[in-house]
Amino acid sequence: MDLLGDAFVEMFEFFLGRDSDVWSITARTTLICLISTIISSFLGIFIGFLLALIPFRGRSTFVAFANAGMGMPPVVAGLVVAVLLWRTGPLGSLGLMYTPIGMVISQCVIAVPLVAAITIGSVMSLPPAMHLQIRSMGANTVQTVLLLAYEVRLGLLIAVMAGFGAAISEVGAAMMVGGNLASETRVLTTATVQLVGQGEFGKALGYGLMLLLLVLFVAIALTSIQSKARKR
């Protein structure tokens, strides 16, 4: 009981501004996650539309890969990216290991299949002849995709939210590829893990709460867009 009580007291002290790191870590977490969410949203939605609309041999295999990617353990994604970016790895010369860019790459590897799979599901839930109807109206390929994207806008919002959620909450890949370097690659999840390891539960709770507030803020923003779209 003492442990929990002390932890909460420590958390409040932490929020009263006695830990100067929290704001810089939160800002870094937000920036890295936003960049990886934007990149994975564009890539995932593009791949999703491609797989949903263009019939080709082996398409179902790719769709199965995208669906399997939804359940991919982040630590495996991190491992693969770490091997690729490692000093002696195929992309080692780029020097991206233990950098925020490396963390963005690993988060994208986790989020892209998720966004793609939700996009595929959304586009495929439309009447099968919808894209033919739009085509028959004289739309070219870009116009067709844009009109279809509007039709599945709620699904795409969910895909983006899921991508953001996956990016911000993962810790294994961030730890492995980012290395949790202070002032460089430390983000809220890796900082929380480190603090728990050090027995600083109050601070860890504070970081955890900050992470939750961040997720909540983004979720509220996206949900309000979603509600407006639904009310139309």
């Binding site: 033919l132 085509r135 028959s136 109206m137």
Partner: protein, 339 residues
């Protein structure tokens, strides 16, 4: 300058899916101001035909030309902008009815001004001006199809493709909507291709009829000619005719069989009538609802046929299963069919 009268020409068209040829059309043409109906049972390839003709599906082989110009990958979209299509299920975008029309207008005629007025005029023509701001999910089936048809005709297409446009419409809306579509086709001057499984829609809207079965054209010609002279019992049945075995038909109705190898007889529904009578030769098997309304299945000898339920002097209870009927045949409408 020579005026182009052929809107669409298709030659040696074949569509293969999963190793099976689902459509084979040696040749087809659609002329200016002409309405052609494609009639066939489910799975006969009607919709595939429509998709190929409207450039939404590339055939496995064959050539298509619009206005005498060969269709290539590079000119599909510009040519598609000269056409408009309504599917059986009205597929409106998830926006207001007027926005649906405006988007179609912007896509097909980007230079057009005063979209509000044009949209309003077309909604009025289709009698749905009060639904301009309404979203598709708030519309009834009939309203949806009217909105879809408004979108088709608003862009003033050179060619109109209609895939079973009245299939989902109830019996109350259907006569008025089909009448409006006939008037719109005439007024627009567009060449039209109509896909249907209902011969009455073909009779109402089309001049020429193409009958498909298993992906192949099995008869083609003027609507009246095809109805009067179907070349097989399969086509006769598709046209709603009653079909009998020739030998038994001759015996039952004491009609001499003409010279030739005639094995079956077809009689259009309007050429055979049943009248309730206790002494009648026929027996009512059951009543059914068909595209023609309430019809009775009548049994005579080993043969069965459909006839419209005509009350005349009879009452509803006279049309009960098991009751006897007299059969009255218009001999001039009998069609003898060989194998």
């Amino acid at each position: 300058m020579k005026k182009i009268t052929q809107m669409i020409e298709m030659s040696d068209i074949s569509v293969v899916r999963g190793g099976r040829e689902v459509l084979h059309v040696p040749s087809f043409s659609l002329k200016a101001n002409e309405t052609v109906a494609i009639l066939g049972p489910n799975g006969s390839g009607k919709s595939t035909f429509l998709l190929v003709a409207s450039l939404l599906l590339k055939p496995t082989q064959g050539e298509i030309s619009y206005f005498g110009k060969a269709i290539k990958n590079s000119n599909r979209t510009p040519f598609r902008r000269m056409t408009a299509l309504a599917f059986q299920e009205p597929l409106l975008l998830d926006r207001s009815v007027s926005d649906n029309l405006k988007i179609a207008l912007r896509l097909k005629r980007p230079d057009l001004k005063d979209l509000d007025k044009i949209t309003g005029d077309w909604l009025e023509k289709l009698k749905i001006q009060h639904l301009a701001k309404v979203l598709p999910h708030q519309l009834s089936g009939g309203e949806l199809q009217r909105a879809s048809l408004a979108r088709v005709f608003a862009v003033e297409p050179e060619m109109v493709f209609l895939d079973e446009p009245f299939a989902g419409i109830d019996e109350i809306d259907r006569p008025s909507l089909s009448g409006d579509v006939k008037a719109l086709i005439k007024e627009s001057g567009a060449a039209s291709l109509l896909v249907t499984h209902d011969i009455s829609e073909a009779v109402l809207l089309a001049k020429r009829l193409v009958i498909l079965s298993d992906g192949k054209v099995i008869q083609e010609g003027d609507v009246g000619d095809v109805i009067a002279k179907p070349i097989s019992s399969k086509i006769a049945k598709l046209l709603g005719h009653s079909v009998f075995a020739a030998e038994e038909f001759s015996r039952l109705f004491q009609i001499d069989r003409p010279t030739g190898n005639f094995t079956e007889v077809a009689v259009p529904m309007s050429g055979i009538k049943a009248v309730p009578s206790n002494e009648g030769l026929g027996k009512i098997v059951r009543l059914e609802v068909s595209v023609k309304g309430l019809v009775a299945v009548i049994e005579i000898g080993n043969q069965q046929f459909h006839t419209e339920v005509d009350y005349g002097d009879a009452t509803f209870s006279d049309w009960t299963a098991g009751n006897r009927v007299d059969i009255d045949i218009d001999y001039s409408r009998i069609i003898w069919l060989s194998e």
